[in-house]
């Protein structure tokens, strides 16, 4: 029973909105509120964050009362790998250049899939990297080095 509540879509969404609203409210306490006539930079954020917390509470209550749909299995591993692939790309394109960044990204991203066949990933990396170089570097003249060493 308890685990049902922890998997309830509305309950989780409500909690998420409440958390986001509270954090935003806390941050916006650092911004001057002002008056309604001369609003400070904190006016809008604070009103909005209270609104968000309010929505969160309502959705949470609704979730507890109605026992709505349950969330399916979370796929954190693939989400994590996709995120990691993008982060590595962002880091490596500046540190090592475009091609190492693309190769690493493809390897990590492909691992997030359900089937991982190394040979296919290799071919895919080569083909798509060539495509990226032709379109972005030659075609659009974007000034990114193919290889670099910036440490």
């Amino acid at each position: 029973m308890k685990s049902d509540i922890a998997k309830n879509k509305d309950v989780l969404a409500g909690l998420l909105f409440m958390a986001m609203g509270s954090i935003a409210f806390y941050i916006s306490l650092g911004y001057r509120f002002g008056t309604t006539v001369r609003m400070g930079p904190g006016y809008f954020p604070r009103v909005l964050s209270l609104l968000l917390v309010g929505f969160g509470i309502t959705i949470l209550i609704k979730g507890i009362r109605k026992r709505g749909k349950l969330v399916s299995q979370w796929g954190w591993v693939s989400v994590g790998l996709l995120t990691l692939a993008m982060v590595l790309f962002g880091f490596m394109i500046e540190a090592l250049g475009l091609l190492p960044a693309l190769a690493t990204m493809f390897l990590v991203a492909a691992y997030a899939g359900n089937e991982f066949r190394l040979r296919e990933v290799f071919v895919l990396t080569v083909v798509m990297s060539m495509f990226a170089v032709v379109v972005f570097i030659w075609g659009l003249n974007l000034p990114y080095p193919l290889f670099a060493w910036n440490f």
Partner: protein, 322 residues
């Protein structure tokens, strides 16, 4: 043995390289950081200079947009870049001098940069709508003195050159306007024309079309001398407001510590570029005037601008959270 000889060879190469550095420079593409998004005034000025520099010298000069935070992102990157002469940046007074004063940048205009050359400058002009009852600077100041905070003064943003020029005028003439900041010009100009705000400070090129059409009336330019585009418009100086020049300038800079020989080389070549009639023409069309000059002159300009704008910004409490 093999290793030792390799090390020796490596050492020899590197010694030779440093000797030959200035002669051989550049061995690879020079990255010119443009601290604004594509399409703005800085971008256009940078691309003109980059293209002409490439044409004239045969070097590969790559303009790279690194926008953000009114230019602070791009300049911050340049300040931290390797001082090997392969990273230069098109700085502007607003980001090199003013952003650090406003606390919007994590670099020091003097300690972190090696000036190369003052590239171009553009005057700013104070305009009103053609239907405005304000006909002259005198009218404006009289009205402002009679009722402080009543003149609605529009700018394209807090801390922009336009805003600071307006603050400078208010301090020198001892008046107070109501500051109405916008996000760029696209809504500010319609509001000026529609009579919802009273005055606007614009760069000459951005206001030129409206001045020619007669929809905007220029009252004065913020410069030491009249603008060649607007020869009939007086300077504030002429109208008796002392020390009121507020031009926008662009200058090429490199990270501090860039070898002198390379700085000199770059300065010489860019000066040659700026002397080309074609460059002058293109810059003029983009609303800027090619300047040029020595490394020392540019350095002196930065050193005199810092205290001047510090005083204006402190006096006006520009970045209030109000």
């Amino acid at each position: 043995m093999r290793i030792a000889s390799r090390i020796l060879a490596g050492l020899a190469v590197s010694v030779l390289a440093s000797v030959a550095q200035a002669q051989q420079y550049p061995e690879k593409a020079i990255r010119m950081i443009v601290p604004f998004p594509p399409g703005g005034g800085t971008d256009v000025v940078s691309r003109i200079v980059a293209a002409k520099l490439g044409e004239l010298t045969g070097w590969t000069v790559v303009a790279e947009n690194k926008p953000g935070s009114g230019g602070s992102v791009g300049l911050g990157l340049a300040a931290k870049a390797k001082a090997d002469g392969y990273t230069i940046v098109m700085a502007q007074n607003a980001n090199l001098v003013i952003n650090p004063i406003l606390g919007k940048a994590n670099y020091d205009p003097i300690a972190d940069f090696q000036p190369i050359v003052l590239t171009a400058s553009a005057p700013q002009v104070l305009v009103v709508s053609k239907t405005s009852p304000i006909k002259s600077i005198k009218d404006l100041l009289t009205a402002a003195k009679a009722k402080p905070n009543a003149i609605k003064f529009a700018t394209p943003g807090v801390g922009t050159s336009s805003h600071l020029a307006g603050e400078l005028l208010q301090q020198r003439a001892e008046v107070k306007f109501m500051h109405v900041p916008y996000k760029g010009t696209s809504q500010a100009i319609p509001d000026l024309m529609g009579g919802r705000v009273d005055v606007y400070v614009a760069s000459v090129p951005s206001a030129m079309a409206h001045i020619q059409e007669g929809t905007m009336r220029p009252l004065a330019v913020f410069a030491d001398r009249r603008s060649s585009d607007l020869p009939d418009v007086p300077t504030l100086e002429e109208l008796g407001i002392k020390d009121s020049a507020a031009v926008t300038w662009w200058g090429m800079a490199a990270p501090a510590g860039t070898p002198d020989a390379i700085v000199k080389r770059l300065s010489t070549e860019i000066n040659r570029v700026l002397q080309l009639p074609d460059t002058k023409e293109k810059l003029k069309m983009a609303g800027a005037e090619a300047i040029g000059g020595t490394v020392q002159e540019f350095s002196a300009l930065i050193k005199s601008d810092v205290p001047k704008w510090t005083a204006v910004i402190k006096g006006a409490n520009v970045k209030s959270d109000d």
